[in-house]
């Protein structure tokens, strides 16, 4: 949205999964992209097209074979990159939440703050409570993840990421594992974050969300970026046949 250097710069990344006895899977083939400050990039594409691999590469959960990823000026793919330090600035929201099962909702937010950011317990508590309020579950601070609905767990997970003050937030099918009636609420929360200027990369099958919240939509298939543009151009006037057939299947 602005003209500053992008927060995320991805250049020519490749990733091949080699499983012995099976043909190699080219999950990413020369993928390049970038995300500016405050921008919302939505990645769509059929299952197995490499969306998750792309997203996971952005915080080093997946190592890549070649190419480079630079987050806020720091090269993640450099040999000596401090991945743990880098991940503090890159929030990630998973399809299955990955909340700490042995911690309450509030502790899920405070533990990373005290352990990683060395905030004091009282400061972490204050930030934690404010963020639980912010995502709409201020009354659930004492509940364990197993006592919360999927939608509530995903709100905790989003708040856990926000508590680290990330420069960019990654969402990997954040609503795919939710009951239909809780999907809308979580999508609304993500839209609010988007309007507030959060830099986001969102993998989703929710085309309504993409249309409304995205600044830019990237369509991936077979580990490649096939087409990219504003939501209007990609959805209403797709240039590529593969995009068209994907959109016709999903809508």
């Amino acid at each position: 949205m602005t003209n500053e250097t992008p927060i995320v710069v991805v250049k020519d990344i490749c990733k091949t999964f080699n499983i012995p006895g099976r043909p190699p899977v080219h999950a990413l083939r020369n993928v390049s992209n970038h995300v500016a400050k405050g921008e919302v990039l939505v990645v769509i594409g059929p299952s197995g097209s490499g969306k998750s691999t792309f997203l996971r590469a952005l915080n080093g959960l997946e190592t890549i074979d070649s190419g480079s990823i630079v987050i806020d000026g720091v090269e993640l793919t450099a040999a000596k990159a401090n991945l743990n330090l880098l991940r503090q600035g890159v929030g990630m929201v998973f399809q299955h939440f990955n909340l700490f099962q042995h911690k309450t909702a509030l502790e899920n937010l405070t533990m990373p703050q005290t352990v990683v950011l060395k905030r004091s317990q009282s400061e972490a508590d204050e930030i934690g409570r404010r963020l639980l309020d912010r995502v709409g579950i201020g009354d659930k601070d004492d509940s364990y993840p197993s006592e919360l609905s999927g939608g509530q767990q995903q709100r905790v997970a989003i708040a856990r990421s926000l508590a680290m003050n990330p420069k960019v937030m990654l969402f990997d099918e954040a609503t795919s594992a939710l009951d239909p009636e809780t999907v809308g609420g979580v999508l609304d929360l993500m839209k609010e974050l988007a309007t507030e200027g959060t830099t986001m990369v969102v993998v989703t099958h929710e085309m309504g969300f993409a249309r409304e919240a995205a600044d830019r939509v990237t369509f991936m298939d077979g580990g490649e970026i096939i087409e990219e543009g504003t939501p209007d151009t990609v959805f209403d006037d797709p240039r590529h046949e593969r995009t068209r057939s994907f959109l016709s299947q999903i809508i």
Binding site: G89, F94, F100, H102, E147
Partner: protein
């Protein structure tokens, strides 16, 4: 009711109360310290066993095999007599130290297998959740993986602890006074095996019961609602 006094003369037991108390205290202490050693050794052993580094995991695997395949009594003798003969220490281990270390190292091998199973049962998602907020390997282990792993395998760890407590009677062979020794005193001085060993057995039961409630408490503390 005379037959009760014949079978189990509690008045005699009363006379030997100081010995039993000393034995109970000694067994509890020995077990507690050996338990501490075994949990530390077991945790480090489990992490080494899962390491990708072949030197590390082979050392851990060899250690477990060596402990499993030799009798505990021999291990106690080796630690007490043989190990101090190596030019590593500038003094002998006393029998208490030798006994505690041997018990701890022995139980540590079995604990490490249990703890490894616990760690492996923690889902990849828990680790990735911790990675995504920037936690280092040690932070993930300490705050996310190990607490849940210990909570999950608390029952088998308690079982192994019960074995450790019972096995601690073997250190009497190198001259440590503990519960079994207290029973022996009654047998030797009064020729009364029932009064000696029934009392000893009850004391072991008491220790086990205490351990049981400590475990339940720890499990809840570590595991939250899931524990």
């Amino acid at each position: 009711m005379d037959w009760i006094l014949d079978f189990y003369n509690y008045r005699v037991v009363g006379q030997y109360l100081p010995e039993f108390a000393r034995g109970l205290g000694s067994t509890a202490w020995i077990s507690l310290l050996a338990l501490g050693i075994s949990l530390s050794v077991g945790t480090i052993g489990a992490i080494m066993r899962m390491s990708a580094n072949p030197v590390l995991w082979r050392i851990a695997a060899g250690y477990v095999q060596a402990i499993r395949s030799t009798p505990l009594l021999i291990q106690i003798y080796l630690i007490y007599f043989t190990f101090p003969a190596l030019p590593l220490l500038d003094r002998r281990l006393d029998e208490l130290e030798g006994g505690i270390i041997a018990l701890g190292l022995n139980a540590g091998a079995y604990m490490s297998e249990i703890i490894r199973a616990g760690i492996e049962s923690i889902s990849r998602g828990q680790v990735e959740g911790a990675q995504s907020v920037g936690m280092t390997y040690l932070q993930r282990m300490r705050h996310v993986v190990l607490p849940q792993a210990f909570a999950r395998v608390a029952p088998p760890l308690l079982g192994q602890t019960a074995v450790l407590i019972k096995d601690s009677s073997l250190v009497s062979f190198i001259g440590v006074f503990e519960l079994f020794g207290a029973g022996l005193v009654v047998l030797n001085e009064r020729l009364m095996p029932n009064e000696g060993f029934l009392t000893v057995a009850v004391c072991y039961l008491v220790i086990y019961t205490v351990m049981l409630s400590v475990t339940k408490f720890a499990q809840r503390r570590l595991g939250g609602a899931t524990g």
